[in-house]
């Protein structure tokens, strides 16, 4: 698809004038109108568009929230309440922004699992995939810093715990933490810089998204069969109207879920403790990060050693970037890999269960026999952590060697129209 030629024909004099000087309309036409998309894309392929919408929604609501928020330890909490009570539609804007973060992560997790199931990370899409991992990391940093801004109890203690992760680094750990804090503890300088970075990072995400989309449009989209486009005329349809309308429909469905949270359960995904102003002298009895960090938090707590836990947690994210080389199978799509499918779904369940362990107290009993604890939450998380990493370093490399995949269709058109042809 790299050879996709521009089919843009300027219709008016003004368009011709612009096209000769800055072919921006041509660029938009080629990437959003005539751009050929595989004709067999399913609804899992609509999440890229949904994510783009969520990013813009977060930036827009964020910019207006900043007009009323005060980044100072003495005023931050009150200014958020001021937004909720006094500012016109402030409650709506803040609930959209807070729940929008959660929706953003729901969409990105579906997007990531989609890529993992259909082998979207495989050649020639390795860089596309790695850029995605970079976006995911930036999203996590942005969400974390945003959660600190209301300066509630969870904000403060979340910031303390996460910045202390860096103290696990030998020798230079403590100076790094002091530098991150700008003081002897999480305090006003910390809040100020987090605010500055929380405003900056989304625009960096936007920049990497541009690269992500560029890479996508250069190599072309993967599709449920994992077979590359062979004949543009037969295998693809133009982006507009086919993909645009499908994306818009999916977006509307997604926004209904978003709206349900915003209007009916705006605090369901948050934590009640964050409505208590930050108190540096008292840690909430049960501190948990936001739900989207729970699987990684579960891994952190599973390792009894501090440095080991921090390394394992970051490794759990970093290992995603190596996926293109860990998966040795020549078949892209999980659809044609019967054994891979089983392991993939186990991996999904393991990830969700890791999130569950991260949300529970460490000493909670998981399995007891005759009054004796066989397995507590830490032990359970340890088993799951081993399974998580085993998927990447054992299952995927070996599956490619031993699995016998099913026959892959000759082309995308075949997979869609094959049955129809056979019926004739």
């Amino acid at each position: 698809m790299a050879e996709h030629h521009s089919s843009y024909v300027p219709k008016t004099g003004i368009e011709r004038w612009i096209d000769a000087r800055l072919p921006i309309i041509r660029l938009m036409h080629d990437s959003a109108v005539s751009y050929p998309v595989p004709r067999n894309l399913n609804y899992f392929w609509t999440f890229g568009g949904i994510l783009m919408f969520m990013l813009v929604a977060q930036i827009v609501t964020g910019i207006v929230l900043v007009m009323h928020y005060t980044p100072h330890v003495d005023f931050a909490f009150a200014s958020v309440e001021h937004i909720m009570r006094d500012v016109n539609y402030g409650w709506l804007l803040r609930y959209m922004h807070a729940n929008g973060a959660s929706m953003f992560f729901i969409a990105v997790y579906i997007h990531i699992f989609r890529g993992m199931y259909y082998g979207s990370y495989k050649a020639p899409r390795e860089l596309l995939w790695i850029l995605g991992v970079v976006i995911f990391l930036l999203m996590m940093a942005t969400a974390f810093m945003g959660y600190v801004l209301p300066w509630g109890q969870m904000s403060f203690w979340g910031a303390t715990v996460i910045t202390n992760l860096f103290s696990a680094i030998p020798v230079i750990g403590d100076p790094i933490v002091t530098w991150l804090w700008g003081g002897y503890s999480v305090d006003n300088p910390t809040l100020n810089r987090f605010f500055s970075l929380h405003y900056l990072l989304p625009f960096m995400i936007l920049g990497v998204v541009v690269l992500h989309v560029w890479a996508l449009h250069h190599v072309g989209q993967n599709n449920p069969t994992g077979v590359e486009v062979k004949n543009v005329a037969k295998d693809t349809v133009p982006f507009t109207p086919f993909a645009t309308v499908k994306d818009l429909f999916a977006m509307v469905c997604f926004m209904m879920v978003f709206g349900w949270f915003v209007f009916y359960h705006p605090n369901f995904l948050g934590h009640a403790d964050n409505y208590i102003p930050a108190d540096p002298l008292k840690t909430p009895a049960h501190i948990v990060p936001e739900w989207y960090f729970l699987p990684f938090y579960g891994i952190l707590r599973a390792i009894p050693d501090k440095l080991g836990g921090v390394v394992a947690m970051f490794a759990a994210i970093a290992i995603l970037a190596f996926l293109p080389w860990l998966d040795t199978s020549k078949v892209k799509s999980g659809k044609y890999r019967p054994t891979f499918k089983i392991f993939f779904w186990i991996f999904v369940v393991v990830s969700v269960l890791l999130g569950y362990t991260g949300s529970q107290p460490t000493d909670k009993v998981v399995l007891a026999l005759g009054g004796r604890t066989i397995l507590d939450m830490v032990g359970f998380a340890q088993i799951l952590t081993v399974m998580y990493f085993a998927y990447f370093v054992i299952a995927l490399p070996l599956l490619g060697l031993f699995e016998k995949p099913k026959a892959v269709p000759a082309s995308i058109a075949d997979s869609v129209l094959g049955d129809a042809k056979a019926a004739k």
């Binding site: 202390n164 530098w179 003081g183 002897y184 300088p189 540096p280």
Partner: protein, 179 residues
């Protein structure tokens, strides 16, 4: 030009290298303020000046939490029985081996064993442990389950070190200066 590149280093090569080196130094000098501004500023450092604490009001078997440099500091007045236990545990399996005597300070040559002064932040990830709780009746951190004894030594859980002891000194038998 072709034979120039093969010949001895000439004046142009020197100028290239010198310019490059100067550029690197200038770049570093330009970036340094951007990095350094994030370190604690003068007002933060000034606000972290030493404080004096009167130990008089803290009864035996009681503890107070005070805030210094934005962090909690525990000052605990141990009972004779607690001191006894802590000393006995010197021989126990300690993840961060340290004798109880090394965790108290002396005044005029006499060890003030009843006073334990520690930072109130778990050495794991900085949460504030809860006093008089946990398996060793010292402190228990609710975040990730670290247990400390009454000397502030880590006994069980993910924390790597004993509770840190701030810089402090006895000014009299009932007064300390922290910092």
């Amino acid at each position: 030009m072709a034979d120039h590149t093969m010949s001895e280093p000439n004046r142009r090569d020197f100028l290239f290298l010198a310019t490059g080196a100067a550029g690197v130094v200038a770049g570093g000098a330009a970036v340094w303020p951007l990095i350094s501004q994030m370190s604690p500023d003068a007002s933060t450092i000034a606000a972290g000046a030493p404080v004096e604490v009167d130990l008089g009001p803290i009864g035996e078997g009681k503890a107070i939490t005070l805030k210094w440099r934005g962090k909690p500091i525990f000052v605990r007045h141990r009972t004779a029985k607690e001191i006894e236990e802590a000393k006995k545990d010197d021989a126990a399996a300690l993840p961060d081996k340290q004798a109880d005597s090394a965790r108290v300070k002396a005044f005029e040559g006499k060890a003030q064993e009843k006073w334990i002064v520690v930072y109130g932040n778990c050495t794991h990830l900085g949460c504030v442990p809860i006093g008089f709780s946990g398996d060793y009746n010292g402190w228990y951190c609710p975040c990730h389950g670290s247990h400390y004894d009454n000397s502030g030594r880590i006994r069980k859980g993910p924390a790597p070190r004993n509770l840190d002891i701030p810089e402090f000194a006895f000014l009299s038998a009932s007064k300390i200066r922290i910092g």
